[in-house]
Symmetry: C2
Subunit: 270 residues, 2 copies
Amino acid sequence: MKFKRNERIGGIVKILSDSPNKIFTLSYFTQKFNAAKSTISEDILIVKNVFEKLNLGKVITIAGAAGGVKYIPKVSREDAKELLNELCEQINDPERILPGKFLYLIDLIYSPQIVSKVGKLFASYIDYSEADCVVTIETKGIPLALATANAMNLPLVIIRKNTKISEGSSLSINYVSASKEKIQTMSLPRKSLKEGSKVILIDDFMRGGGTLKGMEDLMKEFKADVVGKGVLISTDTPQEKLVEGCISLLRLIRIENDSVETIPNEDVIM
Amino acid sequence: MKFKRNERIGGIVKILSDSPNKIFTLSYFTQKFNAAKSTISEDILIVKNVFEKLNLGKVITIAGAAGGVKYIPKVSREDAKELLNELCEQINDPERILPGKFLYLIDLIYSPQIVSKVGKLFASYIDYSEADCVVTIETKGIPLALATANAMNLPLVIIRKNTKISEGSSLSINYVSASKEKIQTMSLPRKSLKEGSKVILIDDFMRGGGTLKGMEDLMKEFKADVVGKGVLISTDTPQEKLVEGCISLLRLIRIENDSVETIPNEDVIM
């Protein structure tokens, strides 16, 4: 089958965009579109240009034997600002306040459309160039972490909160979640993480950082190295967290019985 | 800013492909690309052609006031066959057999690349034209269900397995999971599902169907209508399941202590 330039461009965009951070060789495209290398190289230049002009992320060419083309999702500051402001507007609805000053957020953090954007945002602010996988803890962080792993083209690992899991031998640790003020257990099957891995931790919400601290401790048991961590929302109080260097996209400034205020993190949108 | 046809085609493909099943108006594109309606209409014809020629799904035009263009992910029989055969090859590795004849599958069912393909596959075989949301139960089905919800452009709802959830008032039911042979509880916050919704149930694994039956029962409590259900793998035994009409992509024919056999479901790939 023969393809016109327009059609090749459309096809290349679709293929790259469906698999962020995956390297496609020139030969892959020459075979797919039955075209010469020089033709495909020209096509790719045009594709690069489209992504740049439309602020859709970056398309880069990697030289050498293992070389090829890949698409790196990158959210511009303006788009980040718009997304986070929209999220805050939705979160700051007093109807979301639950007994015990919890926030009802699952409609947002389970939304495929929202998490796919937030995943690209994490991939824009967390350096994952050395990372081997994304790690999260069940349940509410899973959609965000999956979207992040997808944007980073990394496997996802999910820590379980109980030990009744049938996934072979597991490593467990105890941790204290500040919000619940009690000792809990988190476990991870041995098979699911190689010793010495470099990992990115992702979760939905951080108050004191007890859960993330637990995740860090569990990673130590796997001799894994935490090379980045991100949460969607962190609370301003307590100011001192149990973990350092966590990127938070939103700040929960205050929550009362009848009002709540969340703002985008200045470091992310400035 | 002015765009060449090539660039517009690339941009339109990226935008449609990033948001499956979302309707974009012609005006959205005329503004984005600073071009006339007739020009954009021509572009869209080319985009339709690309998707068809490359078997990437369908792009359709909807007439009328609420009209526009949308991309419908659709996996061809050949691609489905290839994907499911590859999955079986990976699953049928005796190393995956765990004590108690469980199968270690989390590296596959948590893989962003795999679930995104499986999600499109569910969207190709389950009729979701009337559906309001995708419903799953924690934990292992979540990535599959999120990818499915994404392909269908529907919100995701996650049923929890414990009642210690801080999401406001919840509805709970008891169910018997055949594989564990004990009574368990599943809960869903009232806020998270509108009464009378039409839902698609997605899970990773079905043995007797106890969990899916529980999900159906919980849906009844919400006066919700189950309009479709799908699992990645169902076991051949027991032959009689507690639920009917569930689409299973793979069949687990047998699992012994040292060998396992899974095959693609003929109904899906034939």
